[in-house]
Structures are given as C-alpha cells and as structure tokens.
C-alpha cells in the first residue's frame, strides 16, 4: 500500500520539478504562466493523494484552497496582465540557456546531497520526494536571480512558494492549519502587491524589464 503512495508522491514531485525547469529554456511569458498553472495542479494532486492515504480531512481543504488560489485566481490575473502588455518576449537573460540548465542541474545535485540527512531521518513514505522539493526551491531561486522581466521574477517567486509547499507536504504531511492559512493569505497579498508594483513600473519606465532599475547605486 505504501509503495504505491510513495511512488505517486515521487512522480508528483518530479513532475513539479520538471515544470519548474521549463522556465529555463522557454522564452515567452505565456509559456511560463502555463508551466506555473500545470505545476500548481500537480502540486494540488500530490496534496490530495497525501490527504487520501493519510486520511486527514484538513489536507483536503488545503488541496482545494491550493487548487483555487494557485490554479485559478493567480493564473487568471497573470493572463490579464500578460494580455494588457502584449506577448512580451523575455529579454536575453543574464545567463544563456545552456549555462542556466547546467547551473540548475548542479543545484539539484546539491539539493540531493543536502537532503541526505532529511531522507535518512524521515519515516514517512513520501520521504523520497524531499530532495526534489529542495531542488525546485534552489532552481526557482536561480530563476528569480537570472531573469530580467519583472513578471518572470514573480512567477519564479510563485514557483519558490510551490517548492516550499511541496517540501512541507512531503516532509510533515502539512504544517498546522493556522499557519497554512496564514501562508496562503500572505502569498495572495504578496502577489497582489507585486502586481501593483509591476503596473507602476510599467507607468514610470514604459517597460517592465528589471535592467532599467539601476539608478540607485552605492
């Protein structure tokens, strides 16, 4: 029984990681939004499977909330913002695609080395997915650092949140509900504020690439 559960968990987390990697080689923002959408769906699926196997009603509620928030609300807002400014191409990022893939590969390896004590300690069946979650966290950090479009950075940040949620689910079957709700609230508010700022950047800088934001120095 547990083997099926753990295999599904590992499958889910590896799918999440792969969607994360899509950001690295695709160039259009549209592709990023779809990648994020699918990643959130897979994450909701993983949470649902854990809820099913662990028979924990709270997790179902969390999965539903996750699906609603990250599956529907945020992608629609992203789509609206994307249409408003036309299909923008991601500028040439600081690091070309080949090197970014290499770096993210190294980061995932580093995540595996790092997660060794975690996997050794955990008795939960889903422990095999923890390094993948850590890998997603490092990759999304790298994405935020290396991309030039503000919108892409926001999507990178959202993927970082997905990675952490995945780690929480795989490692501890979900953190206490109070904190979970707080995290979702923060995520939503944070995203809304970032959107406001992107609109404001558009107004004052006429384009939303981060390269222009180099005025404040020393």
């Amino acid at each position: 029984m547990n083997s099926v559960f753990s295999q599904m968990a590992v499958l889910g987390s590896s799918l999440t990681l792969i969607f994360g990697l899509i950001l690295l080689w695709r160039r259009s923002v549209h592709a990023y939004v779809t990648a994020f959408l699918w990643q959130s769906l897979v994450l909701a699926g993983v949470v649902a499977t854990v809820a099913y196997f662990h028979r924990d009603p709270e997790l179902y509620f969390v999965a539903a909330l996750l699906l609603l928030l990250k599956g529907l609300v945020i992608p629609r807002l992203l789509r609206r913002m994307e249409q408003r400014y036309g299909a923008e191409r991601e500028l040439q990022p600081y690091v070309n695609t080949a090197t970014s893939l290499l770096i993210s590969g190294l980061l995932v390896l580093f995540a595996y080395a790092l997660a060794r004590p975690l996997v050794a300690l955990s008795q939960l069946p889903t422990r095999a997915g923890i390094p993948l979650a850590l890998g997603l966290i490092f990759v999304s950090l790298f994405v935020i650092a290396s991309r030039k479009k503000a919108l892409t950075q926001v999507i990178g940040f959202l993927m970082l949140e997905n990675g952490i949620a995945l780690l929480a689910v795989l490692g501890t079957y979900g953190i206490p509900l109070v904190v979970e709700i707080g995290v979702f609230l923060d995520l939503l508010l944070g995203f809304i504020v970032m959107q406001i700022f992107i609109y404001r950047i558009r107004e004052t800088f006429e384009s939303s690439d981060v390269d222009q934001l180099g005025r404040l120095r020393h």
Partner: protein
C-alpha cells in the same frame, strides 16, 4: 562626607552651576557666571589636590550612578598631583576666558563656549579620580568630545573643521586602543575595578601587548610622534584660553593615563619598555622643536612646542622605567619625579604662552608673526608675561623650566650606572639630543618673542594694538607667578612628588624615598643645584651693577637717536628681520630633515635685466609624517572604500545572486563542518 568628599562634590557643583549659568544667558552675565563657576570649581579642586598631596590620605567613593559597574572615584598621590595641574591652569584660563570671549559676542555662540569650558574642566577633574575601567573610559571619551566641540567654536573657517576632524579621528583611534587594552588588562573580570586589576597584574598573560596598546592610546592623546599631527592643527584654531587648557592640561591626561596604567596597574616591565618610551620621547622632542622653528603662526609654533615638551616628559618617564627594570629604584623615582615636575611646569608656561598669544590675537586679530612687531610698547604687561613664559620654556636658570630640565639631565646622567654598557650608551645620546632640543627651543623663542614684540610694528593692526583688558592680564599674571614660584621651590616639590609616587606599582613605598637636602642634591645623582640661592645671587648682582656704575661716576645721560643704517635716511618696517629670515640659518643646517620646497620668482625691469621690479621668494615645509604615514593610509582606505561601494552596484539580479551564493556557501559550511 569626609572633607575630601565635600571638596569633590563642591568642585562638581561649581562646574555644573557655571555650565548651566553660561548656557542660559548669551551676554555679559553668562560669561561672568560661567567664568566664576569654572574659577571657583578650579580653586576648590586646587585646595583638594594640595590637601590630598600633602596629607597623603587616599579618598575613595563608589556611586551607583553609571550603568554596569558604577562610578568609582579614588584620589591617591598621582591623582592629587594632576588635580593641582588641572586646577592651576583652569583658574588662569577661566579668568582669562572671561575677558577674551567678549570678542565672540556677535560672531559665535557664547553659551556653547562657556558651558563646554566648564564641562571640560569637570571631566578633567573627575578623570584623574577614576578608579574603574568604565568611569575612566567614559570620562576619557566625554573629555575628547567636549574638547572637540570647543575646537569647533570658530566653525566658519574650513581649517577649523579639518583640524577638528583630524583631532576627533586620532583621539578615537587612541580610545579604541585603550578600550582593547583595558579589557586585556581586566582579563574577563566584568567589575574591572582598578585595585582588582592591580592585584592580578603580575600574573597577566599579554603584558607586552597591553603595554603597547597603552602606549599607543595614551600617546594619541598626549601628542607623541607619530600621533601628534592633530596637535598643531587643533590647538591654534581653538579659542586661546581653551587651547591653553588643552595644551596645558588635556594632553597631560595622556601622561596621567600612561603613569596610571604602566606604573601603577602593570607595575613596570622589561627594559625595552623604558627604551621605547625614551626613544619616542627623544624623537618627539627633536621633531617638535624642529618643526616649531619653521612656524610663523604664533599658536602653531606653541602647539609644536607642546609636542616637544611632551617628549621631554616621556624622556623622564622612559628613563625611570628603564631604571626600574634594572632595579635602580632611587634613579627610577627620580626619573618619574622629573617627568611629573616637567608636566606641571609645562602646564604653567605653555598655558601662559597660549594666553599671551591669545592676548596678542585679541589685540591684532592675526596669528601671523610676520604682521606683528613693536607690541612691547603697546602691550607691556602681555609682553612681560610672554617673556617670562618664553624664558621658562627655554629652561633659563631662575625659572621653573630650568629646574625640571636640570632634573631630567641628572636622571639621564644616572644612566651611567646601568650595568650593560650597550644600554647605558643610549643615555648620552639622549642627553645630547635633549640639549640640542633645549638650544633650539631657546632659538625658537628668541624668534617668537623678538619678532612679535620687539622693534617696529609690521602692519597696521600691530600698530593700533592696545593692551588687553584686566581679566586677561590677571589670568596671565597667575601663571607667570606660578612659573616663577615653581622655579624657586624644587627642593620642596621633589620630595612631595616622591611621596606622591611612593607605592605605585613596584616602586618602593618608603615615605621619604628621596632624601633631599636644602640645595637640590639627591644621593646617587651627580650634581646639586639650588634655585633660590641662584635667583637671589642674580638679583643681588643685578642690583649691584648699577650701584657700582653710580659709584664710579659713569655718565648717566641717554640720548635718543636713529638706528644705525649705514647712512640711509629713515627706517621702514620692511627693513627689519622677519621670522622666516630669522630661522633661515637653522633651516639650511637641517635641510636634509625639512626638505623645504623653495621657489624664487624675479621679474626684471622691462628695459634691462640688471634692474629688478620685484623678487618673490616662497618656501614651504611639509612635515613628512603626513606625507609618509598618513596620506598613504588614507589612500588605502579610500581604495578599499571604492571597491566596497561597487557591491551596491544597482542590479537586482546581482543582489539576488549575493543571496543565492551566500545561502549555498553557508549550507555547504553547515553540511561539511564537524
């Protein structure tokens, strides 16, 4: 409250009342009350110092006022002596300040000057009584801050601000060294009261490091080479009665701190300690006087002389330390006594000279000697006071400078008793350089007094100079009397100082360590000298000579004529010797040291090159401490700063990369670290 306690409280109350009064009103009354507060506070602490020094009683008090370890005060012999030094110059400059600051009425805030002056005296008085690390350091920094603000009184000139920046920078570097030193000394004991430090000093681990930090920190305050460059910048720009107090007393806190830590708490150390202090003292003495010679800004000249005299004080202390390490206890005590005696003498005559310079500045609005002259006829009493100061700083016999310099010479002569000949050879070199310093000091003050006060005024301002008000003369008078008085009573001062030093660290605690007969001859030393008899003899002869002339019926008529000028008619001020010309032979002799930059520009008459329209001679001396030591240091820090500034380069991607790299690095560290 024991009588000393009452006096301490009295002094503190006087100062605070003076400060408050000065702060509240910005007019004559403010000045008067401020000066009154400072003067009375100084008098009370003078009485306290004399009482404590003569009776030898030790007064201690611990008040829970300050945080952490509280305020601890203790007056022993050393503190009492420095109390007298503070009070003596304090009274004089307070009285002088009342008259002098009148000219600040419209231009600068009198409130601030009066209040800060009182606070400076307060911090100085308490500083010498500090008995635990926190009190000492808090008062030390408070003193530096108040002195810095006082230096900034005339803040509309750029030179003042530059000087104040240098002053607070070097003082704070010194403070950082002291902070480190005191905590090494207290070796982890948080209470850090001085008597517990004294107890476990012998068993300390890093005694040499503590000594070096103490030397660095206290010489930053005292103005020893190479940490002296703030002194000739800060003292001239401060108001004169403040620079008198700073030059006379504030830099002596460096001497007090050094004695307190190295003599009292550490109890002396190996011979090279004394050797290093002696070497620094000699270097400061020689360089101080050499650079003073080339100055023609009156107050900068006096400031460089402070560096010289601090050097002489540290020669005495360094010699004392060396003797102590070789066990020659009498000579050691003599060395410290000579150092301390020169401390109070320097406080008196340097204070007097700065007040004199202040009076000249008050009258002629300029510090440049080339624009002065003939002031002796217009300001006779200031001239007399300045002359007494000049004579005593050049160590001329009947006055106090000679008494202490004679003692320093005798100490150095005692060096011949040091067993190792290689070490004993340092002493004659020190004697020679000290004598050279004395000679050059005399030359410098002949220039200073001669060019400023004698002959014909060189500018309109000097011509219209008038004698300064009564309060300034009284201030100068007090210190002039002190100079003459201290010169006449060395036979009384030396044993009292010997008692003050008794029991400090490893010094023998016998009451009369220095048996001194009526003429100042100390067993184990070489010469004997009696100032009072000398002064009496000179006065007698001065009286005898005119009497003899009258007896032999010498012609007593005097006719006023013109100065001989090889037959030309009339005399203009431009024909007189100038300060630069006066010092020119010595600049040529020490040219290797000064490396003067000289340029001569002659524009000839259009018709023929044999006639000259004007010749302009320009010479500049840059003290090479700044060139070789401080400029490279500043350039280094500027370069580092430029590189570090680029960390904040403005690119968001770069900032996030810093975080990612930081995270990965720390994770790797946590993962591999044991």
């Amino acid at each position: 409250m024991t009588p000393p306690g009452v006096l301490v409280a009295g002094a503190v109350v006087c100062y605070l009342a003076g400060a408050l009064a000065a702060f509240l009103s910005n007019d004559r009354w403010g000045r008067a009350l401020g000066a009154l507060g400072a003067g009375s506070g100084a008098l009370v602490s003078l009485g306290l110092g004399i009482a404590a020094l003569t009776t030898g009683s030790v007064f201690t008090a611990v008040l829970g006022v300050l945080p952490l370890t509280g305020l601890a005060l203790r007056i022993d012999g050393l503190s009492a002596f420095f109390l007298i030094v503070v009070a003596l110059v304090g009274v004089a400059s307070a009285v002088f300040g009342y008259g002098y600051s009148a000219s600040y009425q419209g231009r600068y805030s009198l409130r601030r000057l009066g209040a800060l002056f009182n606070l400076l005296l307060l911090t100085l008085t308490l500083q010498v009584m500090a008995d635990n690390v926190l009190t000492f350091l808090l008062l030390w920094e408070a003193m530096s801050l108040v002195a810095y603000l006082l230096v900034l009184t005339e803040h509309d000139e750029l030179a003042t601000i530059r000087a104040a920046n240098w002053y607070i920078a070097i003082t704070h570097v010194g403070f950082a060294a002291l902070l480190a030193m005191f905590f090494l000394l207290s070796a982890g004991d948080p209470a850090a009261a001085f008597d517990s430090l004294r107890a476990n000093a012998p068993a300390l681990a890093h005694r040499n490091m503590i000594f070096l930090l103490a030397l660095f920190g206290f010489s930053a305050k005292a103005g020893l080479i190479p940490l002296h460059i703030w002194l000739p910048m800060a003292h001239p720009v401060a108001p004169s009665h403040v620079s008198a107090l700073m030059s006379g007393v504030v830099i002596k806190m460096g001497v007090y701190g050094f004695c307190r830590v190295v003599l009292d708490l550490l109890g002396g150390g190996p011979a090279w300690w004394g050797g290093l202090v002696l070497a620094l003292g000699v270097a400061s003495a020689v360089f101080g006087v050499l650079y003073a010679l080339m100055e023609h800004d009156l107050k900068r000249l006096l400031a460089y002389h402070s560096v010289e005299n601090i050097g002489i004080i540290f020669i005495g202390i360094g010699a004392g330390l060396m003797f102590q390490s070789y066990g020659l206890m009498t000579l050691a005590v003599l060395g410290f006594v000579a150092g301390l005696y020169h401390t109070i003498n320097h406080a008196c005559f340097k204070g007097l000279l700065f007040l004199g310079a202040g009076s000249v500045l008050h009258a002629t609005r300029t510090r440049n000697m080339e624009e002065m002259g003939g002031l002796i006829k217009r300001m006779p009493r200031t001239a007399l006071a300045f002359l007494i100061g000049a004579a005593s700083i050049s160590a001329l016999p009947p006055l106090n400078g000679f008494a202490s310099e004679w003692l320093v010479f005798q100490t150095l002569l005692g060096g011949s008793q040091i067993p190792q000949p290689s070490v004993a050879l340092i002493m004659p070199i020190a004697v020679a350089l000290l004598a050279l310093t004395g000679g050059l000091a005399m030359a410098c003050f002949v220039k200073a007094f001669g060019i400023t006060f004698l002959a014909i005024p060189r500018s309109r301002a000097a011509e219209e100079a008038h004698e300064s008000p009564a309060s300034m003369q009284v201030g100068m008078g007090i210190l002039a009397l002190a100079c003459v008085g201290l010169g006449l009573i060395p036979f009384f001062v030396v044993p009292v100082l010997g008692r003050a030093l008794a029991g400090l660290g490893r010094l023998p605690s016998g009451a009369a360590t220095l048996t001194v007969s009526f003429p100042l001859s100390i067993p184990g030393t070489f010469g004997s000298m009696s100032s009072p008899l000398l002064a009496a003899g000179l006065l007698l002869l001065l009286g005898l000579v005119p009497l003899a002339l009258w007896l032999i019926g010498a012609n007593r008529r005097i006719r006023i004529g013109d100065t001989w000028g090889c037959g030309r008619i009339g005399q203009t001020p431009r024909m007189q010797y100038t300060a630069t010309a006066f010092a020119e032979p010595l600049r040529r002799v020490f040219a290797e040291l000064y490396r003067p930059t000289q340029d001569l520009s002659i524009d000839f008459h259009p018709e023929s090159k044999y006639f000259v329209q004007s010749i302009e001679y320009q010479t500049e001396i840059h003290p090479w401490f700044e060139k070789l030591l401080y400029q490279p240091l500043i350039r280094l820090f500027r370069q580092i700063a430029d590189r570090v500034r680029w960390i904040q380069a403005g690119w968001l991607g770069l900032y996030l990369t810093y975080m990612l790299v930081g995270l990965v690095a720390l994770l790797a560290l946590a993962w591999w670290a044991p």
